[in-house]
Subunit: 135 residues, 2 copies
DNA sequence: CGCATATCCGTGCTACCGTACGGATATGGC
DNA sequence: GCCATATCCGTACGGTAGCACGGATATGCG
């Protein structure tokens, strides 16, 4: 591909360069978004938002996924600090983290869901019908 | 891993099962989130939000990425219906789609960015320092 | 008409993600 | 103490995403 050394609109390029989100922030933000960009993890968060807390096996049962998948997804969310655990005997109960901005994120997700319905409906991106997420 | 046939808290499992987001919706939503879960695409959207429209080469220049990467990212966003194009001669100008909920999404991203700063700061997820996003 | 340029497209490669499997660890019950 | 169970962990593997490279296409310019 050509190297394109000559900007077409130098002024706008400068404005964009100056104001665009930095690579550091973009990395963190996209990392978080990528973390949410998984059917299992999104549904885990939704489920935990519904019921205060639930253990790994019950979450797997509720979502119709293997305990491995639930455990893996929960570990990712926990590593990112989005959920926290309470251990009671052999059972580990997961819940949304105290710092979790429930209403905000729920609002965001609801709106993004609406957007996804009209924007990317016909594009079978990852996990739309490829995996059996339920039952 | 054990099969866990006996739910610990059957009531909550039922509640979670009934109210949790469906697999269909989860697929679309996570697909959209995964689409946003890429440093290049997030920054492309930010840049397009700053300046009304910009062509591929200038966007690559502004973000310090190759034109291939810009073209690829823009194609993804266009396929999902998040951006639209205007062709003028050889140059293709990209802008946010008319249906793009600017203030909403911007608000969401800003808040998520804040969340990412305190939640996943110490976890080098994808793209934090792995890729050269700028310069 | 021939050349330069802006963008797209097909292909191949590398890296990584999510899952399954087997085993390890911890805890409770008998 | 011994066994069952809930969860985690290490490993291996299939699938796929994102990028580079070369070429194709289209358009402006002389």
């Amino acid at each position: 591909m050509a190297d394109h050394e000559h900007p077409v609109d130098a002024a706008r390029v400068r404005r964009a360069r100056a104001g665009v989100i930095g690579a550091e922030d973009a990395g963190r933000l996209s990392g978080l978004l990528a973390l949410l960009g998984d059917p299992v993890r999104v549904r885990l968060l939704y489920a935990l938002d519904l019921v205060d807390e639930l253990c790994v096996g019950d979450l797997a049962l509720a979502l119709g996924i293997t305990e491995d998948a639930a455990s893996y997804g929960l570990r990712m969310l926990r590593t990112a600090g989005l959920v926290q655990t309470r251990k009671d005997g052999r059972v580990v109960y997961y819940r949304l983290a105290d710092t979790f901005p429930e209403p905000l994120l729920e609002h965001c997700l609801r709106e993004l869901l609406r957007l996804s319905e009209l924007a990317g409906a016909e594009h079978p991106k990852r996990g739309s019908s490829r995996r059996k997420l339920v039952r």
